[in-house]
């Protein structure tokens, strides 16, 4: 399977997970990845079966916008890796005016710019889930891929969504897995219910996707995602 990997505005955590997953799978040929391969010009790259992108995309950074659009043309499927690419994540807080690129101000989740086929959230996306995704994709296990496909239609998710869509609607069973998922410990279980401290939340969405009440829905083909 021919694979492209493009890293846009992210912290490199997702790329490290991806490389770990890549090394465990012998069926993959990485044909384009400017961070680690010599060939840097995307125009010269051949078409790929699947393209992975991590990081959100900066609207003022022409080079990134261009390579994202070209990547879409060259790849049969596009997968967003990690919360920044899927839902914006911490880059939702970027306001620009910072050296060395003070004119970079607007950071968008990938699905705002090109069509995304699958989303693998996480901050960072874990190597384990990437391994499982790659195996299922290669094996054509479409049932396993359903949640990733549904998530591709979701452009924002945060602790607030968990609070509004699950807890406030009375759907929370109190399992605590949201608190376990949060990379910044913004969620505390108080008397069996999650309390999200929004001032700590980095908007990675992991809690919301992990919540069993939401995941139950995500497992269904064409689930409604809000």
């Amino acid at each position: 399977m021919k694979v492209m990997y493009v890293k846009l505005s992210d912290c490199s955590g997702c790329m490290i997970s991806f490389l770990e997953a890549l090394m465990s799978n012998s069926n993959i040929e990485l044909i384009y990845c400017p961070n680690i391969l010599d060939r840097r010009d995307i125009d010269e790259a051949e078409d790929a079966d699947i393209g992975f992108v991590s990081g959100s995309v900066c609207a003022e950074f022409d080079e990134h916008m261009e390579s994202l659009k070209k990547m879409r043309e060259k790849c049969e499927k596009i997968v967003t890796v990690g919360s920044c690419a899927c839902v914006g994540g911490i880059t939702r807080f970027c306001r620009g005016n910072q050296p060395p690129q003070p004119y970079h101000r607007t950071f968008l989740p990938i699905a705002d710019v090109v069509k995304v086929d699958y989303s693998i959230p996480g901050c960072p996306a874990s190597a384990e889930i990437l391994k499982k995704f790659l195996n299922a994709y290669i094996a054509g296990n479409n049932k396993y891929l359903i949640p990733f496909k549904n998530l591709a239609r979701k452009k924002r998710a945060s602790g607030q969504d968990l609070q509004d869509e699950i807890v406030a609607k009375g759907l929370c069973v109190g399992c605590g897995m949201c608190a376990l998922s949060c990379p910044v410990e913004a969620i505390e279980m108080i008397r069996g219910k999650p309390e999200v401290r929004m001032d700590k939340c980095i908007r990675c969405g992991t809690c919301y996707f992990r919540c069993p009440r939401n995941f139950l829905k995500l497992r269904k083909e064409n689930a409604e995602v809000i």
């Binding site: 499982k132 109190g174 376990l180 998922s181 069996g192 139950l216």
Partner: protein, 266 residues
């Protein structure tokens, strides 16, 4: 075998604990701990105020504290992290309601967090569940409906269509299940899993006579443990009779219908 109402299963039994002071589920876990089949079990204990807390039981003495149903769901976050990341146990059992078993299965299938260590959970033990209470909901119910306080309770269980609370002073309070069902938490009204279909083995009262517990075995390893526990004298087991199985199916069906009915509420 696969059944719409029982889930995937190998066989259904009725078991009676033979270990002094243990219930069927805890006797089963005690065997696994005693024989080092597992090196820790994540269970829930309640303190004298019925404040539930998940703990990691390392031996059968630790387990004693967890005997009896707690009726409220307890987040197991700290205990899971203790067992897998702090104590770095290699073989862990976890016991919980169907929804708690489901989420463990979800994490194993879609490991967004915890990494590989989640695979050290070797045994997922489910409990039959028609609904549970929130911590505050349970407190309010016993205070308002029964006029007692939580510290007065010794234990509580469901027997056929009655919710039975035994108090420390020996008094017994019986309430019709229908009445109690009104107090279960809202989230449970949408849940269609009575028998913990994603567990490796499920335990529950439904279908068995008093003193016995029904067991649905779904996984070969869980099955072999049950057989060895029975050979070692921790519990007695027999095949559950068809009436018993039908009773489980009836309740499972009832729960599924309730979930279907309530679908439109959200």
């Amino acid at each position: 075998m696969e059944d719409e109402y029982l889930g995937k299963y190998i066989d259904v039994f009725s078991v009676k604990p033979l270990k002094e002071g243990f219930g069927a589920t805890t006797a089963y876990i005690a065997y696994a701990l005693d024989k080092n089949e597992i090196d820790g079990a994540i269970v829930v204990k309640a303190d004298e105020n019925w404040e539930p807390k998940a703990i990691v039981a390392r031996n059968s003495d630790d387990l004693r504290a967890s005997i009896g149903t707690k009726w409220v769901i307890t987040p197991m976050v700290d205990a899971i992290i203790d067992a897998l990341k702090v104590e770095r146990l290699e073989k862990v059992a976890i016991i919980g309601t169907p929804c708690q078993c489901r989420v463990i299965r979800d994490i194993k299938e879609y490991p967004m967090q915890l990494g590989d260590v989640i695979n050290r959970i070797k045994l997922v033990i489910g409990l039959f569940c028609m609904g549970s209470f929130t911590q505050d909901g349970f407190k309010t119910m016993v205070e308002r409906k029964f006029g007692i306080t939580l510290p007065e309770i010794k234990n509580a269980e469901i027997r056929s269509d009655k919710f039975i609370i035994r108090l420390i002073n020996g008094k017994i309070i019986e309430e019709s299940l229908e009445n109690v069902k009104k107090d279960v938490k809202f989230a449970c009204l949408f849940c269609d899993d009575f028998t913990a279909r994603s567990a490796d083995i499920s335990f529950g009262n439904a279908g068995s006579e008093s003193g016995w517990r029904s067991v649905i075995v779904r996984d070969e390893y869980a099955y072999s443990l049950l057989q060895s526990a029975s050979r070692a004298g921790y519990l007695k087991m027999k095949k559950l009779n068809p009436e018993g199985v039908n009773e489980i199916i009836r309740l499972s069906k009832e729960k599924m219908e309730r979930a279907k009915r309530n679908e439109s509420l959200i």
